[in-house]
Structure formats: C-alpha cells, structure tokens
Amino acid sequence: MKFVQMARRVGAAALAAALLATAVGCGSKTAGSTPQGAAAPAKTAEDDPSAATSTGNTATSPMGRWVEEKVALDENITPYGAPQPMDDGSLVLYGEDGKTIYRYISQDDGASWLQTPTNWADLAGDIPPLMATAPDGAVLFNTYEQGGMRTYLKEAGSDTPTELTLPEGLDSINQMTILDPDTVLISGSTKSSERPANGMEAEGDAGTDAEGNPVYYSPVCAVYDLHLQNKRLDLTNPLGGSVSFYNSPVSIDFVSGPAADRSAAGWQFYQITYTESGAALQTVDETGTAQTVFENLPSARDAAFGAAADKDGSYYYFSPDGIYRVAKGGSLAELVFEATTFQMGVSGVLCRGLSHSENGSFFALLANMGTNEATLYRYYYDETLPAAPADGLVVWSLEDNQTVRAAIVQLAAEHPEIGVEYQAALASGVTKTDAISTLNAELLAGSGPDVLILDGLDYKAYQQKGLLADYSASVDTAALLPNIVAPFLGSDGSVTVLPARFSVPMVYSDNGETAQLNSLAALQAAILACPPRPAMDSEDHAYYENRAPGQRYGMSFLTAADLLDFTLQSAAPAIWDGSSLNTDAVREVLGFVQGVANYYGMKDYKKEPQINGVSGGGEGSDAVTQWDGGYEYGLTGGAAYGRGVLQTPAFLGDIRRTQGDAGTVAVVQPGPTAGAYLPGTLAAVNASSQKQEQAGAFLSALFSETVQELYQEDGCPVRQTALAASIARNQSAITKGGYTGDVQALFATLQTPVLPLDEEIHAALLQAANALVDGTKTLDDAVTEVQNALTLYLSEKQ
C-alpha cells in the first residue's frame, strides 16, 4: 500500500472518529447544568468551605450547596448589625428589644447563640444606637435621647462603658468602623454658624440653635484613636455617598462599603467610590493615600452598607446577585454564591450590615425597604446537601419579576427539595419576538418551562390553544379579591391564568373636582376648562412655578405617547377585543389626544422632553414613585388634575399638594372601560409540564400571605388579607396625606382588567397620535390611517 493511500485512510478514520464523537457529544447533557441558586461555589480557596466537595457521593451527584437561614434570635430583638468575628473565633452580636441591650455570643459559627443582657441597658435611648465592635471585644456606640447624641466606649475585657467627649470639629457621628484595636474611622458632621463652602443649610428645628440662629452642617471624615481624643488623619474627600431621610433636614454623608483590611501593616481600610463609569474599590492607608485596587466592581450599587473583609484582606460585598469576593491583589470579582432563591435576591431589600466568619459563613442584616424591618440571615455551605435539588422547576417570564423572585425564596423555604430555575427571557439579550418564538416552539412541542408568567404576552391565545393547565386545586381563589380575579376564572371554576399583582390608573384633584370625571369626554372638558399647559419640562423654571387655583392648567402631558398611553390605560379593551378593531373607540381615544394636544399647542413641545420623577416613602409606608403627571399636581402645584398609577395604597397618601393643600380626592381613571385596573404577574402552568405538583407548590407560594404581603414596587397584592395588611401598613401615610375616601371601597370598584395592546396596534395608534399632535392629519384621516395600517394584522386574525 502506498504511503499516500495509507495517510488518506488514517485521515478518513480520524475524521469518522471525530464525527462519531461529536454525534455522541451532542446527546449528552452539560456536566455543570444545575438550577440557579443551587450553584456550586465560584472558586476554590484554602480557607473557604465553598471549595469543599463531598467525596462520598461524587460518583452519583455533586454535593454541597449554600443555604440561607434566619438567625434564631428572640422575635422582638432588633440586631444592631451583622455579627463581629472575634479574635478567639467566636461571633458577637448586639441587639435590643426596646428595653434592654443584649449581647449574643456564638461559638459554632452562628448556628446557635447565647443571650446575655448587658449591664448598660439603661443607656439605650430613643433610637437604636450606632455601634461598632472590635475583634478584641471593645465596643464603641452612640445613643440618642431627645435629639442629643452621646458616645460611649466599652473597652476590651471590661463590661462597663465610659462616655466619651467628642473632639473639637466633630459634632455628630453617622458611621463608625474600627480599623485596629486603637483606631476608628469616623464619618459625621460638624456644625457652625457660618455657611461652609461644601455644607448644606439645615432648615427647621435642627437647623437653628437655641437663639434661633441658623446652623450649617459640613461633613467630616477622619481617623481617630478609639477614645476619640487624637485625630490621626483627616480624610479630605473620601465620602462615597449621601442619604437624606424623609422629613429630615440633614443629609447624612458616609463612606461607602467600608471594611478594615487587617492583613495590611498598620491600619488600612477599603471603600467603594461610585463614579459615572461604575464602582471602584479603593484602599486608604495610614498616610491617607487612596489607591484604586479594582475598577468596575460588578453589581456594587447596593453595597454601601454591606461590605466586609477577612483576615487575609479579601473584600466581600453585598449585591442582589449574591455575595461577591475580591481577593487581595486579585483582578477578578467572583460571585461566592447566587442569591436567586434567597431573601438577599429579593427586590426592595437593603443590606444594613455584612460580616464574614473565619469558618467561611456570611451574615447579612437585611431590611425590607417597605416595612423597614430588619432580619439577620446566615449563609453557610452545607456539604451534606446535594448541589442541586432533585426536582428542578423552570419558571419563565419575559422580564425579571420581583414577586416571582420572592415566591422562589418562599418556595425554597417551604420545599427545599424543589429547585427552581428562573428564566427572565429578555435578560439574556434576545428580542421579544425571539423569546416568544422559542417559548412557542417549546410549548407546541410539548416541552418548555413549567410555570409561565405571561406579562407582555397574549395570555388568551395560550389559554384558547389549550397550552395552560388548570391549577384551581393549588390556589384558594376564595381568598383572593373576587372582583380582580373574576375575569380570569373559567365558567366551570377552572383557573389557567391569575394575576398575582394589580395596579390602578388614577386621576385626582382637589376636593370636589373629580366627581364629574366619569368619561374621557368629561375629563377632556375639564382639562379644556383650565388654561393650556405651557411648552415646558423639568429643565424649565416655569415647570416648578406654583400656580394659583384659577391659573392652573389641566393635566400634565409631555408627548403624544404620553397622551395616548394615558388614555389606553382605560380604553385598550374597548379598542381591541382580541379579534376586531372598534373604530368608535379609536376615534374617541384619538379625539381626546387631538383635543388636548391642540389646546396645549403640543406641536411646539420638545420632541424628547426631560422626564421627571420622584420616589418617596418612609415612616413604615411603602415607597411611591410619582412621574410628571403627579409631580406637576402635588409638588409644583401647576396642574389642576394629577394622574398616576397606584401600585400600593401608600399612593393615596402621597398625592396631596405640598403647597396650599385643600385635600385630594382620587378616582379610578375614567374612559371607555369602567373600573379599569392593570393586572400583573399573570401566572400560568404549562399543560405539558411533568411537574404539575411542584408547579402547584410554586403558585401556592406566589399567592401565599407571605409573598403577597411583600411590597415589590410592582403592584398591589390580590390576596384579600394581604391587601388589608397593606392598607393597614400604609394607613397613617394615607391619613396624613389627607385622603379621606374609603380605600377598600375604591378597590371594590375595579372590574375590568386592562392589558397592553399588541405592539402593532399600539404602533399604529401612536403614529396616528403623532400626526394629530403635529397637526398633519385630521381626526378622520388618522382613524383611517390606523385602519389601513392594521389591515394585514386584522386579515391574519380572520
């Protein structure tokens, strides 16, 4: 045989082998495919248990996963922060029950705690103290009583605190971080009677001294000895953030993400600086030199109060993704564990403290931004658990949904054996069309996700094609708001889709002026009865002008899209019933757009105006965001009527005018549809799913009291008791806001779910609305244009 022939045959055999190997490889599963939240640790490290794997079970399945558990303290104990790892390997934590300050010590990495009352309980003031604990047991803390602040030091080995006198140039302390046994980083403020260059004028009681003279505050950041007698270093501008509290005249400046680096010679600390390009990690040493050690920390936006460092100098910080670690000298920020199924990953959670024990566990003090309640959680790596729970449930939605995430956390707590993989399709960067195509292909092939969140999709199509399963056995519909869920229930009591949240489009005005607003025409007449709105946005001075009652323009609208989307919140079901276009309703909507736009002269408005919004909250009530429609009514006082979408009952307390208030009355937005509401988190189960039972457990969690009561800034709960609790939670804010109506009665008027129109119909309407605003088309032409634009769309639906 010739050499060439042999070479050819060997080559052919190699190619055939490669082909065979590829074919076999195509059929095998990825070795590392595990549901999110049950992911194995990101990287090995000598001192980190996350590196450990169980050798006993590796032949069958990988073992070990991170576990979240609530730290078992007494129910009424409020921890002051995350536990401090001590030099002797124990953990120390302080907390109070409103009367006594307790010390908790754990010798088993936080699994159990020994409670002992301190003998300085009488020092606790009106507000929980600010406290910093050193590894040797020293404690530095502030107490507040009747507005006054006192500072104490409990030295290591002693159990009796001594009061410290604040040094000159430091009048209040906002933040304390102990850097070494005799060094503390302080950020606070100093006051003076003269306006400092970088200070702020405080108003009200806190801004005047006893003689009524103004007081000015300016931020201070310095390193002192533990007795606060010697200033070791004045840090000129290391403050990474500032926060203003509701009704508080004083802003509080702080160092973001501070953590002492105990591996350095002398004292040194980490801090995060936030710039336009992202967050950077810096070290500040004894000379005050700040050195950037890591550019662009991923997901570090929420790490301002949640950071820690271990004895090797590795830096850890909180994010909704999980805990990130930056090894000292390392160039990679690694995710130690994912928080998908943990409380940490739930939206609206603020980390108030983070610590890392020598055994590798983490402790995070998480506060709910709605209720303001803080809970301490422990995160540890359990080698005895399988890396991924046996039952992997796939939950799918187009966009990331925080209520779904809360339900996943709840399910993990109730059923640890059920693992959940959450797929937010658009988060992976695909287009909406591609995401829907993929979903449809899977569903029609009899596979696909087990649980579907159908927000942004035509849920009726999935329902009519028989792709959704009846899950009436998993959800007690009698416990839900009957008027909200009734349109979704089958005539035989079957349930294939249910909203887990809902919002309400509202219009409001001064007392007595909303009573006649019962139709779009009436609203238009009311707007036209007021002076026209000038061409302005939040970049113009006129925007902030408070107008007298007779001088106020009707309602805030900035663009044609603004006008159209407002009307569609109540008119969408009238325009499109799923099979035909109602030209009368189109005419009514476009007529409103034309009438208001012409009256306002919106042709001369900016084509891309500056959108303005403000978020508020506090005193235990939920956060509320107001956009221009509410801002121009309540905050600037320019508009006679306000508009907005109610996502929490706290909305009703947030809509009052801040100046010249005469009380506000809100009604559900009038329009062609009576009692309009916007359903959200539309949950369904894939009829082809083999995991109906687990899907039922997930839905049970989604509609449970615990998840429904959580405020996720995505709507009101549909569970009756949860809505009642939400109203009760926000009642003081509602009352304070001057809303006098019956809140329950308001919710009882809701009867028609309004879902967003299909993109094609919306695009056709928007094109017509733009033409009407620009004055390039008559109303008749615009209606005809909409009909023409939708000819193909309608024809396809025949």
Binding site: N440, A461, G466, L467, E760, A789, L792, E796, K797
Partner: protein
C-alpha cells in the same frame, strides 16, 4: 478496502457480472447514501410528515379537524395576499436574475482573461452579512436616505420607497444585486463546458452571433440553466431576512411574503393554519413541478415523433430515389 475492491471489480467493463454482484453493488450504494438519507429523513422528511399531520389537526396536534385548517387558510385574506406576492416575486425575480447573470457571464466570458477580476467582484455581495445589507438598505431607501436626497437634488419628488409599491422593486433589486454574481459563476461553468470546436465550425459556416448563441451556446447551457434556476429559487426564499429586518413583521403590502405570515402565525400559536399553509405551498410546488415535467415529456415526445417522422420521410425519399424508374 472491501468497497474499494467492489468498485474496482464492477468497473471492469465488458466482463459479465458475477453471481450476487448486483446485490453487493446495491448494498454499497446504500451504504454510501445512508448517512445523507438519514440526515434528510431526520431533518426534512419526518418534520414534513409532522407538518402534514398537523395540517389536519388542532394546535396541539391532538384532535383531527379534517380540512378545516386548509379551508381557513384559503379563506384568509392575508394568506391570499402573501401567496400572490410570493408568486409574483418568484415569477419576477428568478427570470430577471437568470437573465442578468447570463448577460454578465457572457460578458465576462467574452472578456477572456481580462474578465477574471470581475468574477470575484460580482461575488462580493454574497459575502456581505445580512445586517450590513439592511443598514445599506436603510441608508439608501429611507425617507431621508441617499436615493431621496439624489432625487430631491435633481428636483424630483421624494419616493417613499418602503411605504409604497416601490418596496417590491427594492426587494427585487436587492435580490438581483446579491445573487447575480453567484449565478454568473454557474453560467460561466456551463460556458466553459461547451467545446470550442463547435464555435470554430460555426465560424467556418458563417453563423452570426445570434445563431451561435441560439444553436450552440444556449443548448450547451441547458444543464447549467436547471442548476441556476433551482439555486435561484432556493435563494429567493432567503430574501425574507432582509425584508423582515428592514420592515418588521408587517411590511408594506407589496413585500408581505408567505414567510411573514407564517412567522406571525407561529407567534400567535396558529400552528394548524401554518401547517396547512405550508402543505398547500408544497402541493402548489409539486403541481408546478409536475406541470413542468409534463411539458417536458410532451416536448420530448413531440421531438421524438418529429425525429421518427423525419427518418421515415428520409427513408421514403431514399426509397423513392432508389426505386427503378418505370
């Protein structure tokens, strides 16, 4: 090794086949074809059978609905429009493409070695990614695009290329621009196969350019024509990508093709209708192919008959000449 010897033995011309040789040959052929047959069956035949099944079933493919889907599709205005546009597009662009590319090929062939660089140049559009073509399309044909600027500068009225019937011709132009080079290469391959002696003999006989083309070039290009036509048909379905990326799910009516409709039906879960539409398309395609085959058969039959008649006439004439004169 075994197959090699089988072929070597079977190719020995003139020798009578050994007993069982035919069966071995068939097995060898089957072995060679099996991988590709398996691929075709897996990725085309079985899915197509599933489409056939779903065309007479509901969305989930579980309930038999007879011809309801087909009836619904035939009554659907969007389907009729899309089918009409698709047929119009194919009927316009394929002849135009074949003609243009043939002209280019003849020119390049006539240019001889100087025409070589053009072969590469004309193939360049095929190497341009669809996204770039779409961008180019927008730059050229947008309402404030380059074409309208040129028109305006010449004092002409701007044309709404994508919002009027002009969109159809934009699509045709794009298709021609992109595929002419490829078809030209196919034609050139066909031209290269025509023996030079035939041209020389024609020149000796004093044949004109048209006569040479009609009697020598065109008959020689027939195999290339079939290949070019088939590949052009296949490529014509790919033009949907450009139309979709530029104009979205609902373009101007003139470029609303069957792929638009099927894509939209899939998004709205109309799988039964989609399958019925696809089946109807295949039936129409098979009908056309069958018609073409019949025409070809008739033409061959006619030619054979004419040939037979000619031979008979020649024989009769020869017999007439050889017959003893009385």
């Amino acid at each position: 090794m075994r197959l090699h010897s089988i072929f070597r033995k079977s190719s020995r011309a003139g020798r009578p086949p050994r007993p069982g040789q035919k069966a071995v040959n068939r097995l060898a052929v089957f072995c060679f074809l099996a991988p590709s047959m398996a691929g075709v069956a897996t990725f085309y035949c079985i899915p197509f059978l599933d489409v056939l099944r779903r065309s007479v079933a509901d969305t989930l493919g579980q309930t038999f609905v007879g011809l309801a889907n087909c009836r619904a599709v035939l009554q659907n205005g969007a389907f009729r429009l899309a089918a009409k546009n698709t047929a119009r597009f194919l009927a316009t662009c394929i002849p135009l493409l074949l003609l243009c590319s043939l002209l280019l090929a003849l020119l390049v062939h006539a240019a001889g070695p100087r025409g070589k660089p053009y072969q590469t140049t004309f193939l360049l559009p095929m190497a341009i990614p669809v996204a770039s073509i779409v961008l180019l399309w927008r730059v050229l044909f947008a309402s404030h695009g380059l074409c309208n600027r040129v028109l305006t500068s010449l004092g002409a009225t701007p044309v709404d290329f994508m919002g009027t019937g002009a969109a159809f011709w934009v699509l045709i132009a794009t298709y021609l621009w992109k595929n002419s080079g490829y078809d030209m290469v196919l034609w050139l391959a066909g031209l290269g196969r025509i023996p030079q002696q035939q041209y020389e003999a024609a020149a000796v006989d004093g044949a004109g350019t048209w006569q040479v083309f009609w009697h020598i070039t065109w008959p020689g290009l027939r195999p290339a024509f079939c290949l070019a036509a088939l590949l052009s048909l296949i490529n014509s379905f790919k033009v949907f990508r450009e139309a979709y990326l530029v104009a979205g799910q609902y373009p101007h009516e003139s470029i609303y093709l069957l792929q638009h409709l099927f894509n939209n039906w899939f998004l709205s879960l109309e799988l039964g209708r989609m399958s019925a539409g696809a089946t109807l398309m295949v039936v129409a395609g098979l009908g056309l192919a069958g018609g073409a085959w019949l025409v070809q058969c008739c033409a061959k039959y006619g030619a054979r008959k004419a040939q037979t008649r000619g031979i008979r006439r020649q024989k009769a004439e020869r017999q007439g000449e050889n017959a003893p004169q009385k």
